[in-house]
């Protein structure tokens, strides 16, 4: 019975993430914590393992269209991986409730950013600032890595706006570049969790299976229809997850 629940959990997280064009971690971790009752610190390593697989399919779509800035991938991945290793090691000493609260803030931010009119923002074009903004981008990549390792997310939710608004890459290239980078950073986090014996082997396989199928279905759904109502429903689901995830630790603090 547990296995079916894990598959369904991965499936719905993959569906939602694929439909909205997210990496998956932002949905997977709260789903696993709330729906299956897994401990937050068990859900995070499962999530990073699944992100590694998800990044393969997602980045390939962008690579085929030449929408990946390979130079940026290598340079920023380096700093993101260092941040990721730091973050996943920090997760062992930072209290679970604090991480849950940080995740709640990130969920609310993601939900609100989904509500923005993308067509309007896609029309803005920026100049290529990679040299001018190099230092800032590197620092942000490092801290994104820490956050990604700590929360079990890919980090695309922070990387894409940075690559688009700060570096000045076109939005689709920013997404493609981020999708390939996420694979490397998730691998670094997975390696740390794996070596620390924190990966629950009974959960990983069904979740990966579900996420992969869900991701494909979600990606397909995204290409055929994107009604605003569905998007609003998804945003409500994310806000609900944020509430469920953050309520308990917040009450304990207050």
């Amino acid at each position: 019975m547990d296995i079916i629940l894990y598959i369904l959990c991965g499936l719905s997280a993959g569906l939602l993430a694929g439909y909205l064009g997210l990496g998956g971690g932002i949905v997977m971790v709260p789903y696993l914590t709330i729906v299956t009752g897994l401990d937050f610190k068990t859900a995070v390593p499962v999530s990073v393992s699944a992100i590694m697989v998800n990044s393969l399919a997602a980045s390939n779509e962008y690579l085929k269209k030449g929408m990946v800035d390979i130079e940026m991938v290598i340079v920023l991945s380096l700093f993101m991986v260092i941040g990721n290793i730091t973050g996943s090691n920090l997760s062992q000493v930072i209290p679970s409730d604090f991480i849950r609260l940080v995740f709640t803030v990130l969920l609310i931010y993601t939900a609100l950013s989904l509500l923005k009119d993308k067509k309007k923002s896609e029309q803005i074009s920026f100049s290529d600032n990679r040299m001018k903004m190099f230092f800032i981008t590197v620092v942000i990549s490092f801290f994104t890595g820490i956050l990604a390792g700590l929360l079990g997310i890919g980090g695309g939710v922070i990387l894409v706006p940075v690559l688009y608004l700060v570096v000045g890459l076109p939005l689709t290239t920013a997404r493609g570049t981020s999708s390939l980078m996420v694979g490397f950073s998730a691998a670094a986090a997975a390696a740390v969790y794996f070596l620390n014996g924190m990966i629950d082997y009974m959960v990983v396989a069904p979740v990966i299976t579900g996420v992969v199928i869900g991701g494909k279905l979600g990606g397909y759904l995204g290409t055929i229809a994107k009604p605003k109502v569905v998007k609003i429903i998804f945003v409500c689901v994310m806000l609900y997850l944020a509430f469920k995830l953050g309520y308990e630790p917040l009450m304990e603090i207050l």
Binding site: I3, I74, L78, A205, T209
Partner: protein, 96 residues
Amino acid sequence: MKDLLFDNNLLITFQRWFWRITFIYFLINTLILTFNRSLAGEITFWGIILLLLGTLIKLIIFIINFQKIKLYRFSILSYLLIFILASTVILKYWIL
């Protein structure tokens, strides 16, 4: 922009096949999980190692491509990335 000369095909082919293999691997693993949990646990253990090896191969593909188009700075950065990932494993597994 030399990175425009970067040959994506090898990376795309590898990622496509690797994605298929890992999906089938974890699908079979899930089926095994229904009747033999300890064996499934063992298979998942090797599955994670497989995923990490896949990342290593991806980086090697990067190095090959960067050297082909004479972008040596970036091939050195790729080596550095391998070094960081490998040293994490070595430090944790053999030293700490």
